[in-house]
């Protein structure tokens, strides 16, 4: 891959942006929050984060998605944990989200609007989540 300059990066970004501003997608964005404390990182949360970025981009949903890291959500035994917020769906925290599970979440939860019952974590640890 040739070395990209900042100018090229800027151009690539504005090309994609202008396609999207025509669509009214205010307040309808997908939010993905990946737990990236020490426990998360040790369990592979960085690969999970990378997978979300890549797969959402492949499905042309990336410009409509906000992807964030957070610290430990308190469920260290079930890392990597990911909170998935999708319009018209309940907010959910999934556990054990290895990189290969991300495809399932994108296909079934985000696109198919179906909850993945076997991956949902019961209750977040209330002393460190609001």
């Amino acid at each position: 891959m040739a070395k990209m300059s900042l100018e090229e990066l800027r151009k690539l970004r504005s090309n994609v942006k202008s396609d999207l501003t025509r669509r009214d997608t205010d307040g309808k964005s997908i939010q993905i929050i990946v737990g990236m404390g020490t426990c998360g990182i040790a369990a592979g949360a960085k690969e999970t984060l990378d997978a979300f970025i890549k797969i959402l981009d492949e499905k042309k949903l990336a410009d409509n998605a906000i992807i964030r890291q957070t610290g430990c959500m308190g469920m260290c035994a079930n890392e990597p944990t990911v909170e998935v917020i999708v319009p018209d769906m309940p907010k959910v925290i999934y556990g054990n989200v290895k990189a290969d599970v991300v495809q399932t979440i994108v296909n079934d939860h985000i696109i198919g609007k179906k909850l993945l019952d076997n991956l949902i974590l019961d209750r977040p640890s209330i002393d460190i989540t609001k």
Partner: protein
């Protein structure tokens, strides 16, 4: 398991941001035999007593997780380096900031793999910091018989080019940009 040197660097960089730094610098210099890393921040710094305590497991300032014991990033780092013939140093001054220096011996069989360097950069650039005027500077050098790299990145320049860094598309493009920097000139 997933613990690469990049994972450790990410952990330490997060400390710098949590110290309320307005500027965090991450510097990687790689040769065939060593990886040398500096993580510098101008955050709140530590007293000599605190500096001693952070080297032990489960020491944390209580702000991030008031009722839980975490605080393993630095102990893991020290343990790994001690077991693999590397060296480390943490210098800090209360009110001024902290510098963490690490050098890993890449020839030691027990040293974890370096890991995904562009991925590390993207991960630390994405870390949130509410300090006004926050800047992160990343510097990457590599000198081996087969490859020479020398580039730096400023977070502010990337925000300028991409807009909101948390946007999925920005992150995808950022990944491409960072991967492309690992190409020799």
């Amino acid at each position: 398991m997933h613990y690469t040197l990049c994972d450790m660097i990410a952990d330490i960089t997060q400390n710098g941001i949590e110290a309320g730094a307005a500027k965090v610098c991450v510097e990687l210099t790689e040769t065939e035999k060593t990886l040398t890393v500096y993580v510098r921040d101008n955050g709140k710094g530590m007293s000599p007593e605190t500096l001693k305590k952070v080297q032990d497991p489960f020491y944390t300032d209580g702000v991030k997780h008031p009722n839980r014991k975490v605080g393993l990033g630095i102990p893991f780092l020290i343990q790994t380096i001690s077991e693999t013939g590397g060296s480390w140093n943490i210098s800090s001054e209360l009110g001024k900031g902290t510098t963490v220096y690490m050098q890993f011996d890449l020839t030691n069989i027990d040293t974890p793999p370096v890991g995904d360097v562009p991925g590390l950069f993207r991960q630390v650039l994405l870390l949130q910091n509410t300090v006004p005027g926050y800047e992160m500077e990343i510097s990457r050098k590599k000198e081996t018989p087969s490859e020479t790299l020398d580039y730096s990145i400023l977070r502010s320049e990337l925000v300028d080019a991409l807009g909101d860094l948390e946007n999925g598309k920005s992150l995808a493009l950022l990944g491409d940009f960072l991967n492309s920097q690992e190409t020799a000139d």
